[in-house]
């Protein structure tokens, strides 16, 4: 970042160092000052040990505040809030703007995507270590089972809270939604500009949790099990708190953007399907993320004070209940955007109107509503038969609205001239995998079957087919489809098809075998297993390594395509939706004039545009 000096009498700006470096420095200062104050001044043991539970929690909080202020929150948020106006803002240009606080929704979207991708590969590396360990029935890679379990926890936590919840919402949502609804910005750009910087902080907090000691609870942070763990669990709670706060802030912004920033003529009947997906997911986040955050605060107090909320003295089952009250809607928070991305891509590829669009909307809304009624199916082993039945019923019922969304895409493809491209191929793969995940979920919804399958690798196979199959494959499809929006360039078709087939083979090989190994008795959470399961585990691990390499290949291909791929026109897919009318690969305003939406975006049985720019229409008629 170039040094910038303002001559404004009210606000002499002098930023001496790049925002990220300054953020790290302020975070370190904040952590050290508060930690030293707590452990040396307040603690009667006077700095022995240097890091205690209260000191690390409060020090981390100060460090996080220092980080957010350092990356730009001080100038863009705090000073203006106190009326110290920044008349000459320090604005970075070129690549530097991605390394500081930015009010541009496209920059924020890309920052989210890069952070999520980083989290994906950190968590992926943890997965590779787990699979390496499981190639032998004995402990050989990790010195003790606790370290294996901690690796499982880091993998799950980062995948769920920084990838699953973030990539399509914070990333694609911030990048695309204002363009899709005909706006030049989100409703509250400052909120997203700061929230994105919580993601790297959260990922690193969880990734470095082993510094404080082992934690063995997995991504759920189960109490009272966590009370037996060393202090690493503190960084689990704190890291997840940062990540969920980021998603909550993004959701508030996206909800307000979709509700209040739509272009003229963009009625609810014409709202893009991805915007519907973002709206319902944001509402889920707005309800359930504060709920889980308060739960984690209570778990943290159980450890710090210590309170007996979830211990044997208190009510251990309550943690499980309020965790899963959030935990199952979380699955739909991850998957619903993917379902609506299918509905965006497929009509363009088949050049047919979106089939039964209203049912697609009804489907995602009802999934949102029912998602709060199914959570106890994670606890069939802990509850009575009378309690199991309603949750079993609702779990099976939720497949109906999910099926609506599915059938909308099938109906659109029916008897069409399907254009097989990399995005459409990945959507087909995603639909196939999500179908496997959904069908195996029906078995799990049945208490009698679930009691047999509970905590086996069958369940691991099921939820990976749902989440990676549903969401990650769609994320890849979205990246290839909207690549020209990011860079004005496109991918290499042969490499794209190779990348898609590569991950499909790796993924389906690894996770379909997990169903088999699970039914043969392979338990989760245990690095040691009977020798007869070794051949299957070796096969799973080999497919998993193929999958990991496949994701890396796709990342490199997308990176190459953004920089050196073939240049394409503004709307290479001939899509009718608004984002393709907006400027691509530039940070200018999306629209010079506000567009006017005149028809549905999914009517591909004629060539009439779905939206017009009034001034351009006038100019065209005059000429």
């Amino acid at each position: 970042m170039a040094t910038a000096v303002s001559t404004s009498p009210e606000y002499p700006v002098k930023r001496p160092m790049p925002p990220v470096i300054r953020g790290l420095l302020w975070a370190a200062i904040g952590f050290l000052v508060v930690n030293v104050f707590i452990s040396y001044v307040i603690d009667p043991l006077k700095g022995n040990p240097f890091i205690t539970q209260p000191s690390v929690v409060l020090g981390w909080t100060a460090g996080l505040i220092g980080w957010l202020l350092g990356v730009g929150g001080w100038e863009e948020i705090i000073l203006p809030a106190f009326g110290i106006m920044n008349k000459r803002p320090v604005t970075a240009t070129g690549w530097r703007q991605y390394f500081g606080l930015s009010l541009h929704h496209k920059v924020v979207g890309i920052q989210y995507l890069v952070s999520s991708t980083g989290g994906f590969f950190i968590a992926g590396l943890a997965a590779m270590l787990m699979r390496l360990e499981l190639m032998s029935p004995h402990m050989w890679l990790f010195p003790d089972p606790g370290q294996y379990l901690m690796t499982v926890g880091i993998h799950g936590t980062i995948m769920m809270f920084s990838v699953g919840t973030v990539a399509l919402v914070g990333g694609m949502g911030n990048f695309l939604i204002p363009q899709m609804i005909g706006s030049n910005s989100s409703a509250f750009p400052k909120i997203s500009s700061i929230s994105v910087w919580l993601v790297p902080a959260g990922i690193l907090t969880v990734a470095f949790s082993p510094l404080l000691g082992q934690w063995t609870t997995g991504w759920r942070g189960y109490e009272p099990l966590a009370q037996n763990d060393a202090n690493g669990i503190l960084f689990y709670y704190l890291g997840v708190f940062a990540l969920t706060t980021s998603s909550l802030l993004v959701s508030l912004n996206l909800t307000a953007t979709i509700l209040f920033k739509r272009a003229k003529g963009l009625t609810w009947n014409r709202l893009p399907m991805f915007a519907w997906g973002m709206l319902v997911v944001s509402l889920l986040n707005i309800i359930w993320l504060p709920e889980i955050q308060m739960t984690f605060v209570m778990a943290l107090l159980d450890r710090l004070v210590p309170f007996p909320f979830f211990t044997a003295v208190g009510s251990p089952l309550t943690y499980l209940e309020i965790f899963w009250l959030f935990g199952h809607p979380e699955v739909y928070i991850i998957v619903l955007p993917a379902l609506t991305i299918w509905m965006e891509i497929i009509p363009v590829m088949v050049r047919k109107p979106l089939f039964a669009r209203e049912w697609g909307v009804i489907g995602v809304i009802f999934v949102m509503m029912l998602s709060g009624f199914v959570w106890a199916h994670h606890m069939f082993t802990n509850i009575t038969l009378q309690e199991e039945l309603p949750f079993s019923f609702f779990t099976e019922m939720i497949s109906i609205p999910t099926g609506f969304a599915y059938m909308v895409v099938i109906g659109t493809m029916w008897r069409s001239n399907f254009k097989l491209t990399v995005p459409s191929l990945l959507v087909l793969m995603s639909m196939f995998n999500f179908l496997i995940g959904g069908l195996t979920g029906v078995f799990n919804a049945d208490p009698v079957v679930d009691l047999q399958l509970h905590d086996t690798f069958w369940v691991v196979g099921h939820f990976h087919f749902t989440i990676i199959g549903g969401m990650v494959f769609t994320w890849l499809a979205a990246m290839y489809y909207w690549l020209p929006k990011f860079s004005g360039r496109t991918y290499n078709s042969k490499l794209g098809v190779l990348g898609a087939i590569w991950v499909f083979v790796g993924f389906d090989g690894a996770f379909s075998l997990m169903f088999l190994v699970g039914m043969e008795g392979m338990n989760r959470w245990v690095p040691i297993y009977p020798p007869y399961l070794q051949p299957l585990n070796i096969a799973i691990s080999i497919f998993a390594f193929i999958l990991g390499a496949g994701f890396l290949f796709n990342l490199l291909h997308i990176w190459w395509a953004m920089r050196s791929g073939k240049k394409v026109e503004q709307n290479p897919w001939k899509s009718k939706s608004l984002e393709w009318m907006a400027t691509s690969a530039s940070l200018d305003d999306n629209f010079k004039e506000e567009p006017l939406v005149v028809a549905s975006f999914y009517e591909y049985d004629d060539d009439k545009p779905a939206a017009i720019i009034p001034q351009q229409e006038v100019a065209a008629s005059l000429s």
């Binding site: 809030a81 106190f82 009326g83 110290i84 106006m85 008349k87 409703a187 509250f188 909550l248 508030l252 909800t255 307000a256 509700l259 209040f260 707005i286 309800i287 993320l289 504060p290 709920e291 955050q293 308060m294 739960t295 605060v297 209570m298 107090l301 004070v305 309170f307 007996p308 909320f309 003295v313 208190g314 009510s315 309550t318 309020i322």
Partner: protein, 192 residues
């Protein structure tokens, strides 16, 4: 004070459009407040799961009543500050804002006092829900007071403009939200 470009842009918009924008922003803020109410609902739920309707006789009812009176009064002064905006009366806004901060600050200090010197067993199920709920309230009160202080200083430096009037109003709405949540928490912790 010279208006910034964005402020000038706002002031040239027709009144109907301005009113619409204000309502939209207010609507978005209501969504935010809804989200902020969720932790309180969680604490109410947990309290009834843990101890049902039990209220120990040692809970200091007098302090609770005084805190609640102070909070309600601070809500009224916040409302008065909000109304002062309609008349573009910056001085009245600041006066009411300072009163709000004094009343709210006193109530918060009393909350902290009660939190620190709780007259019952903190390891009981009632105690842990009481202390956690009060802690949540203290945290939100401190955020609210910080927001009020920022608004007051901003008013002193910038004054009321068409572009920033809504921000001042929302600061006061946030404080009123905190007052309402405190009254609800007071009723459930001390009586119901």
């Amino acid at each position: 004070m010279e208006l910034s470009r964005s402020q000038q842009k706002v002031s040239t918009r027709p009144p109907v459009e301005r009113e619409l924008e204000t309502r939209k922003a207010f609507g978005a803020f209501v969504i935010f407040l809804f989200s902020m109410s969720v932790p309180y609902f969680v604490m109410i739920n947990v309290r009834y799961i843990m101890v049902a309707g039990f209220v120990p006789s040692t809970v200091d009812q007098t302090t609770g009543v005084i805190e609640t009176i102070l909070m309600v009064l601070s809500g009224l002064t916040a409302l008065a500050a909000s109304r002062a905006l309609k008349g573009n009366n910056a001085k009245l806004y600041r006066t009411n804002g300072i009163l709000t901060m004094i009343l709210g600050g006193l109530a918060t200090l009393m909350l902290i006092w009660e939190w620190w010197f709780h007259p019952f067993d903190p390891m009981s199920h009632y105690g842990e829900t009481f202390l956690t709920t009060i802690g949540l309230c203290v945290f939100m009160h401190l955020v609210g007071l910080g927001v009020l202080m920022a608004a007051n200083m901003r008013m002193k430096r910038v004054g009321i403009t068409e572009a920033n009037a809504l921000g001042y109003r929302l600061n006061n709405v946030f404080w009123m939200f905190i007052v309402v949540t405190w009254v609800a928490m007071w009723l459930q912790l001390y009586f119901i």
